[in-house]
């Protein structure tokens, strides 16, 4: 016998997954370069109920939700005028190397000069390959071209590596707005045609109105599944009530 309680509970859990993803989106609604999550719902296994149903009768086991990727739609550009702020205006990512040495991808181009003179992101990850700014350089003199070339007064210092993967949905978020390549994302390759805009940042692409609508849908779904749990409990109580 399929347990109706488990079915209803699976429904609550699926809605909870959606609520968690939406909470992450809301929390990152002003995180530079953040991409909103996509949550996919599916139903679960169907099987014969045993007694009470003839052959051909099917009972489902609830639903499941999981993050199936991200919405990589371009976020709005915010002009900051700060020379070390860069925003990608095309698909693609800036390649960085995290503290642990692993390659990470980011669209948050709020760069700073680290203590050792190399450029790093706001989350403390060095650009890959590293770009060193000579000591005493006035930030206003740093020019970053659309292809990522960094120069000071005409002298080329290096190039910000703009990369892409074949399947951005397969990237794993690291919780700080950066993405880690996985087997599902495919290898990191140079992004042809990717362009940067100096003096701008890409805003989070979370749309509050959409998130709020989804949130109220998730809450209603949660309440419905919760009602099914209560009723399943009462059904079992009625069955138990046969023997007094």
């Amino acid at each position: 016998m399929v347990s109706g309680l488990a079915t209803a509970a699976a429904g609550m859990e699926a809605q909870q997954q959606l609520l968690n993803a939406l909470s992450e989106d809301i929390a990152n609604s002003s995180t530079t370069g953040y991409k909103s999550t996509r949550v996919g719902f599916t139903d679960l296994l169907y099987q014969a109920p045993g007694r009470g149903g003839a052959a051909g009768t099917q009972v489902g086991a609830g639903s499941r939700a999981e993050i199936i990727g991200r919405d990589f739609e371009q976020g709005a550009l915010e002009m900051t005028g700060r020379p070390l702020d860069v925003a990608l205006v095309t698909p693609g990512f800036i390649e960085v190397r995290g503290a642990g040495g692993a390659v990470a991808l980011t669209r948050a181009g709020q760069l700073n000069v680290a203590a050792d003179g190399t450029l790093e992101t706001a989350t403390g990850q060095r650009l890959e390959p590293p770009i060193r700014i000579p000591a005493g350089t006035d930030a206003e003199d740093i020019a970053i071209a659309a292809d990522g070339t960094v120069s000071v007064e005409g002298r080329r210092l290096g190039q910000i590596n703009l990369v892409e993967v074949s399947n951005p949905d397969g990237l794993q978020g690291d919780g700080e707005g950066d993405f880690l390549p996985t087997a599902a994302s495919g290898p990191v390759t140079a992004a042809r045609g990717a362009r940067l805009q100096q003096g701008a940042l890409e805003a989070s692409n979370v749309e509050m109105a959409t998130v709020m609508t989804q949130m109220s849908e998730a809450q209603q779904g949660y309440a419905l599944a919760g009602k099914a749990v209560t009723t399943q409990d009462e059904v079992l109580a009625v069955a138990n009530g046969l023997i007094r």
Partner: protein, 228 residues
């Protein structure tokens, strides 16, 4: 013994199965492309008992009930825009095809994603089948043209979970594929809640019947045989 006991018990079992189906419906209130199940109950008549393991009929019991069949209602539901590049919906009849390990399966749930090869897949990673029968490749900007996706007509559609259906392909369907949109779940919360309540009351009534018959039997066994 009183067969009424068994009739009422079959009623309880039927309502319990129905409750499980209702729980599944409510759990899928937000599953895109979910299709509602409609169960028909075998009314008054003879109920054939089957061996639950071998399914061999073992005899008949009159006036019992059971759920005779589950039919999935495939009527297209409303479509809402999501703006997500890899969300698809079929406007009208038809199914998307996906190539699973077990062969070609069909779905109305167009919440697709992609794999490392840049092919469009469903949430489980099964490649989506194009209108020309091949895989669907994402364009350089990560989108897919809605016209690349196939909408197939199938007969004998049956749910197998993971939003998939089995069935026999019967050519191209009349429905139009739309990108950036999803088909809503067919679960009508109000209607399903009403079904849940009425089924629950029927279950309680069956329980009362069993208790009453039980009391009658204990009267026969206890009081009638007593010598004063």
């Amino acid at each position: 013994m009183d067969s009424g006991l068994y009739i009422a018990a079959s009623g309880m079992l039927t309502e319990m199965v129905r409750q499980e189906q209702i729980a599944n419906e409510l759990a899928n209130a937000n599953t895109p492309g979910y299709k509602a199940d409609r169960s028909t109950q075998a009314g008054f008549g003879e109920l054939f008992l089957r061996n639950t393991r071998t399914n061999v009929p073992v005899g008949s019991l009159s006036m019992g009930v059971e759920i005779a069949d589950t039919a999935t209602e495939l009527t297209p539901e409303a479509i809402h825009e999501t703006g997500e590049a890899l969300d698809f919906a079929i406007e009208g009849e038809g199914f998307f095809g996906v190539l699973t390990e077990g062969g070609v399966r069909y779905t109305r749930n167009g919440q697709f994603t992609a794999n490392a090869e840049g092919l469009l897949t469903d949430a489980q990673g099964d490649p989506v089948i194009a209108a020309n029968g091949g895989p669907v490749r994402l364009r350089a900007d990560g989108t897919v043209s809605a016209s690349d996706l196939g909408a197939f007509e199938i007969t004998g559609a049956e749910k197998i979970g993971d939003s998939l259906f089995t069935g026999t392909a019967a050519g191209n369907a009349s429905g139009q594929v739309r990108a950036g949109a999803l088909e809503e779940s067919a679960v009508d919360p109000a209607r399903t809640m009403v079904q849940m309540i009425s089924s629950f009351r029927a279950l309680e009534a069956d329980q009362k019947a069993i208790q009453t018959i039980d009391e009658t039997l204990s009267e026969s066994a206890g009081s009638i045989g007593e010598v004063h």
